[in-house]
């Protein structure tokens, strides 16, 4: 069963007089449990595709089925709920709240779930999630007291608190050194293998891409290559 189904997705920006087609008809299927790297030169449209996949932006035309639901025509509020339930985001610059304890950071998405979670449950779930990413002893630390790798793991715990089927990572290792990059990638891999979470990583780094099971390369608003990598074969 496909988690993501894109059919002829097009996105065109209108900047005054200038018409700028960014996505020129993308058709793509990603099955549950895949770990995909999305690469491409800057300006190739991968960020726009990422935003579309992340329900942050609506395509100009085309169909997008996320977990069997057509989401490309949903209202803003409905897409917000979709992001909360089905998606986890990890960013290059972590995007943690300043001067906020790790546990509170991880609990944050529960506030917008539409279902009531008691404060006690929320704390327990956040603690369990931090434990899962190996930060059980850092729950009351603020971002400034954490290393880059630890910050990214807090962000990862936050992305996973609602148990989303899809995790979108935008250059997750862009700000990390090679040692930490390996650790974080290992964690991604583990989540993919053990918990069956589908992961899509946008990256420039061939090493990161090689760590994934499938690689999609974009160029000029179209998919240029879609191949199973060595990492996937191994």
């Amino acid at each position: 069963m496909n988690l993501i189904e894109l059919r002829d997705i097009r996105k065109t920006f209108y900047l005054g007089e200038v018409v700028l087609p960014v996505l020129k008809g993308i058709t793509l299927n990603i099955a549950k449990g895949e770990m995909v790297a999305l690469t491409g030169a800057s300006g190739s449209g991968k960020s726009t595709l990422m935003n579309t996949l992340g329900c942050l932006d609506r395509p100009t035309s085309g169909e997008y089925l996320l977990d069997g639901e057509e989401v490309s025509r949903l209202s803003n509020d409905a897409r917000a709920l979709m992001r909360n339930r089905k998606l986890g985001f990890v960013f290059q610059n972590f995007n943690l709240l300043p001067r906020t304890m790790a546990q509170a950071q991880v609990m944050m998405p529960l506030l917008y779930g539409g279902t009531h979670v008691s404060q006690k449950d929320a704390k327990q779930r956040a603690a369990a999630m931090l434990d899962r990413v190996g930060l059980a002893d850092r729950m009351d630390h603020q971002p400034s007291q954490l290393s880059g790798g630890q910050q990214q793991r807090v962000a990862l715990a936050r992305a996973l608190i609602n148990h989303p089927p899809l995790l979108l990572a935008d250059e997750p290792t862009g700000n990390l050194d090679s040692q930490t990059t390996r650790e974080v990638l290992a964690l991604f891999r583990e989540l993919n293998d053990q918990d069956g979470i589908t992961i899509l990583i946008v990256t420039h780094d061939p090493k990161v891409a090689a760590n994934c099971k499938r690689m999609i390369r974009m160029a000029d608003g179209l998919i240029e290559a879609d191949e199973i990598t060595a990492g996937g074969a191994a």
Partner: protein, 456 residues
């Protein structure tokens, strides 16, 4: 429960920048503090002013006997004698809006003699001890006469400052005897200085004695008007004992049936007074007091609905008006000051909230990415500004109360706690939070998550 979580998120956000939050809310703190302090000090002064004006007689009512008329000729107010001392006592007893009453018998102006000096006071009044209470007048030397003196028609009197100055030439008048129409009266006390009344008449030029003394020992008869009424009735015979009103062909009160007479024999009105003065519990109560007294006197004098009243009640409408306008002006002044300071405070809040929204653009983007809807963001920022304002309001109330406490302790200004001002401050500061917090919050809720996440 969700509201609680939003509240918590807002508090966390505010706590991240304690100093800035504190400085932002300072405008509201000072605004509300100023309002509370001004209100309490203003209320205190207003109460003090009202008390002063009230002592001029704003809550005083005067009940005069009605007018006699004969063949279409009216003899003016007070030409029949219908008020009794018992009326005065009944009014005090039965009208809840009445604080004090006094029956007054006026005497013709006559010289008061002490030693080789004499002086004609402006006013010679026979009255009851309640008089001083009604007029809010203190005895500064000696003591006032009491009810027993009234019962015994004791030969005692109180004199005003002007009389003291004219007759006593520096020595203490208390214990001395003055003569009034060949009756020796012992001065038992001296009244406090009151100055001129609104018409410029010297109020201190007065001699007060028990009304029994004035009526029976000094005047012998009551005022000249009685004679006029008697003449009007077309008879010169002396009023026989037991029937007070000459010319009884014209019934003063509604006729009573035989049964009524048997059941409650009509009290014989032997003794009348010239007027009754009444003090209402406050200037606002004078209207109620008037109605209560009217009802009571109708009952006591057996006046039916169609009959003409045998009394007139007058109040000091002019003074009451001055009093009300003073209060209204005071309140309006405070309101304007309050509005200005709170608007200034509100603009401060709006400014900082706008800065905060810009500064936290990435946070907003992130919250949207994890599923926050526009309304969630709006609610959060609105909660933050309202919390700021309410916290400011609470601190302002403490500050204001503290200030007014210090002012009353150190400067001895009169202050009066005002619950209304406190409630109004809370409501207004919450409204300021909503009004001035709305635009920044709305702006935050309209951010595009993609742009917001990329914001540097």
């Amino acid at each position: 429960m969700k509201a609680l979580l939003i509240l918590q998120a807002s508090l966390t956000a505010l706590r991240r920048n304690v100093l800035r939050s504190a400085l932002t809310t300072l405008g509201i703190v000072i605004g509300v503090g100023a309002v509370i302090a001004m209100m309490e000090i203003g209320n205190g002064s207003s109460a003090a002013i009202q008390k002063t004006i009230a002592s001029m007689g704003a809550n005083t009512l005067m009940i005069f006997p009605g007018a006699a008329a004969s063949g279409g000729v009216s003899f003016g107010a007070g030409s029949t004698m219908t008020m009794t001392p018992e009326d005065s006592e009944a009014i005090l007893r039965e009208c809840p809006s009445v604080r004090a009453t006094a029956a007054v018998v006026r005497s013709r102006n006559a010289p008061v003699i002490f030693g080789n000096k004499n002086w004609v006071p402006n006013e010679i009044d026979g009255t009851t001890p309640g008089f001083l209470d009604v007029r809010d007048w203190a005895v500064i030397e000696g003591a006032p006469f009491d009810d027993r003196d009234v019962r015994n028609a004791a030969r005692v009197c109180l004199i005003g400052q002007s009389v003291v100055r004219q007759l006593f030439d520096g020595q203490s008048p208390v214990g001395q005897e003055v003569r009034l129409q060949n009756v020796a009266l012992r001065v038992v006390g001296v009244l406090d200085k009151k100055g001129a009344n609104m018409m410029g008449r010297d109020q201190d030029d007065i001699l007060i004695a028990p009304w029994t003394t004035v009526k029976f020992r000094i005047s012998g008869t009551s005022t000249a008007n009685t004679a006029a009424a008697a003449a009007a009735a077309g008879t010169s015979t002396v009023t026989p004992r037991g029937t007070l009103y000459p010319g009884s062909a014209q019934g003063l009160y509604a006729p009573r049936s035989a049964t009524q007479t048997k059941n409650s024999p009509m009290p014989v009105r032997l003794i009348t007074v010239d007027q009754i003065i009444v003090s209402a519990t406050s200037a606002e109560e004078t209207k109620d007091a008037t109605e209560e007294i009217t009802g009571l006197l109708h009952e006591r004098h057996h006046i039916g609905e169609k009959d003409v009243d045998d009394f007139n009640i007058r109040d000091m409408a002019e003074i009451t008006k001055a009093l009300t306008s003073t209060t209204v002006m005071m309140t309006n002044l405070l309101l304007v000051v309050a509005m200005i300071s709170l608007v200034v405070g509100g603009v401060g809040i709006m400014n900082i909230m706008l800065v905060s929204v810009t500064e936290r653009t990435r946070e907003i983007g992130l919250r949207m990415a994890v599923g926050a809807r526009g309304t969630d963001i709006l609610r959060q920022f609105l909660t933050e500004s309202v919390m700021l304002c309410l916290a400011g309001g609470a601190m302002g109330i403490t500050l204001g109360r503290g200030t007014s406490y210090l002012v009353s302790k150190i400067l001895h200004w009169p202050t009066l706690p005002s619950l209304g001002a406190i409630i109004a401050s809370v409501v207004v500061s919450a409204s300021v939070g909503i009004i001035f917090g709305f635009y920044p919050a709305w702006k935050a809720s309209r951010l595009d998550p993609i742009e917001a996440l990329r914001y540097e």
